[in-house]
Assembly symmetry: C2
Homo-oligomer: 408 residues x 2
């Protein structure tokens, strides 16, 4: 059997076969950048058209009630919760990841008065670090930067909060949530997980781990569109004492009584701030339909099978050309594969010219995301085939691949 036929056979045996039919993928493209911006699920355009034309255009202001807009952050939050195996009423969706990090970080640190350190890892996604620095400044705390492979050595009884990205955006390496959360709790700190590169691709059990907070974005593996809002998780035990700084009217116990004094609502709605972004929430709501009936175990199995195959084919066909930054060990791997190469930028650019879309992360990382809902083993085979073509033809030497452009 040819290697490509073997890939096709894996697809035929996958529990997720046919799931890509839920997406509109442009023909001629192998899209390995769903970890940056997820592909468009069917139903999103239709839902937005309905929300705009019928709910807004025809229903006008009444749609806050009749179309259930006012409850949308909670309802969409509950759907995200279900996908992440979190309890109902513990997830809220309203603002960007950066803003959501600010809210949850401040809330967490206020639950640990007298402690004055936030622990972050040096490999964190930048916005987590920038926001933590602002939180530290405003609450008079210190940032402590840990090496990612030995975070536990940085924990002590001064630590209020440990904030880590579950799956590293550069390397795809993954933390042991149970172990790190337990270690944070041992020193009396709270644990916040950034699930941006987790949600929709890698199952995680925050309840068993006892994690306190989580934030994650919805425009990557959740496929909710460019700049869609982030979700926030707060463990129920913290709800009664949640004290977050963006205390806008939507987090008030009685927003429409228009009282001058602030009294926060009970429950996870306390994480709300302003008027919820209805168009974006509706897009996310529709995008989540693509996950209906998907078993998280099947999702994980498909993801690992795709990344296993990609790593194996790259090493077999281009031995010694790339350093595989992503861990081989399943328990430590997210849903992406990162290849280090001094000419990574040009190689990614040359691949894009061939219709294989990955992305580049400074200084020398070619990053390939494997969204298990819409990628197949045949895609993986073909992508590596293109990569071989690029390297053998030295297509990355062409001048048009030298000029860098920013991509998110």
């Amino acid at each position: 059997m040819s290697p490509r036929d073997a890939a096709l056979e894996l697809d035929a045996a996958s529990a997720l076969r046919g799931r890509r039919d839920h997406f509109r993928l442009p023909p001629g493209t192998i899209y390995l950048d769903g970890n940056s911006l997820g592909a468009l699920p069917h139903g999103v355009a239709e839902r937005l058209a309905h929300v705009v034309t019928e709910e807004w255009g025809r229903g006008l202001i009444a749609s806050w009630n009749t179309a259930g807009w006012i409850d949308l952050p909670r309802r969409v939050g509950d759907r995200v919760a279900a996908l992440l195996d979190l309890p109902e009423g513990t997830v809220w969706v309203s603002d960007s990841t950066s803003v959501s990090l600010f809210k949850t970080m401040v809330a967490a640190c206020r639950l640990r008065p007298g402690r004055d350190v936030i622990v972050l890892e040096r490999a964190t996604f930048p916005t987590d670090g920038y926001i933590a620095a602002s939180v530290a400044r405003m609450l008079d705390l210190e940032l402590r930067w840990a090496e990612s492979d030995r975070v536990e050595e940085y924990l002590d009884d001064r630590v209020a909060l440990v904030c880590l990205t579950h799956v590293d955006f550069r390397t795809g390496a993954m933390f042991d949530v149970d172990r790190v959360t337990a270690r944070a709790h041992e020193v009396g700190a709270l644990m916040l997980w950034d699930l941006c590169h987790t949600a929709g691709a890698v199952p995680v059990d925050l309840v068993t781990a006892g994690a306190d907070f989580a934030v994650g974005c919805s425009y990557k593996y959740l496929n909710a569109g460019p700049g869609s809002p982030a979700f926030m998780y707060a463990a129920r035990e913290h709800h009664a004492h949640l004290d977050q700084p963006l205390s806008g009217w939507m987090s008030h116990a009685r927003p429409f009584d228009m009282e001058l004094g602030y009294e926060p609502v009970e429950g996870v709605g306390r994480l709300a701030s302003g008027t919820p972004p209805i168009l974006a929430l509706s897009a996310l709501d529709a995008a989540l339909d693509a996950f209906e009936g998907v078993d998280p175990g099947d999702l994980r199995a498909a993801s690992l099978s795709l990344t296993d195959l990609f790593i194996r084919l790259v090493e077999e066909r281009l031995p010694g050309v790339f350093e595989v930054l992503t861990p081989r060990e399943h328990a430590r791997r997210g849903s992406q594969v990162s290849l280090r190469h001094p000419e990574a930028y040009a190689i990614v650019s040359a691949l894009i010219a061939r219709g294989v879309v990955g992305d580049f992360r400074t200084p020398d990382v070619a990053r390939f995301g494997f969204a298990p809902l819409y990628l197949t083993h045949a895609d993986v085979y073909d992508a590596v085939d293109h990569l071989v073509g690029v390297m053998e033809g030295r297509e990355h030497d062409r001048p048009e691949h030298a000029v860098r452009r920013a991509v998110t």
Copy 2:
């Protein structure tokens, strides 16, 4: 000539005649709630369909560059700036009003170190007060609550920031921007104007007044849809020293270098936080087309003519029934008329049953917004005719109008 014919004559003479053709208004509805949620402009649904299907679905990640997503907050900000007679490069659009207030309030207070008071008015929209309370707590400042009709008496050299809503959401009363801003500056304070009920209906000249900051929402008279993002204005003289607390990666000088250290970008982009909400920004961009070619003076003249007519007809046809809360004086009136009545809730509900949509503000205010782009004098005449019908038939006594529902 009948009174209704007189109204039709005013419409025929209006500089804005025909402008309502830019909107999709449901037949049989007179929509006097554009100060809560603006009507749907033509072109928004089409633009969103294009952004979703073509830019996102087909262009995928490349659209951050090829479709100009990355610059959308600035480009849309510049369009809002043009509408508000503000300079290019001084307006940014990204987050909710509450979040935008937090950013600008903190930035403003940090520009006045050593001062420890924020002045607000008791009539402020609640979220302004809640957010100011959070800012005061985090920066160790005090809130000072002023009576709206004598704010100037509350100013002294302890005041860092004066934050006022230009047009009062309950009464429609309007501040004298020049005078109050000048008085704030005299004591060395900075001035932040909340333009939520101003933008798109009432011209304001913040540059001549010398105002420092402004925030306003885009889902009211700017018609950008439910929960659309707010705009922030920062006077150019403050840009070099802007220091805002939601310092996410999009406000970094080089976001895609993914540096651990935060270095803010030059200019108004310093007010950015997370990844911009592309669907919402696109909707706002398309919604602004309805203002193309509209002279702000004509907008204001139409608004005043509509509210003048409404007040006159209510007083002529229902003498003594309502207290008109909104100032008669043009210079002190926004684009709404608020009528006080003990049964205001039931009256609004009975009007809605007749297709005349206003809204209710606790405890006893019936509020009618006059969006000059899509409302006509004939609408005003017909709305008052319905109001007369409600009051004469005591329709508000019917039990179905007694149950209160929340509307934003």
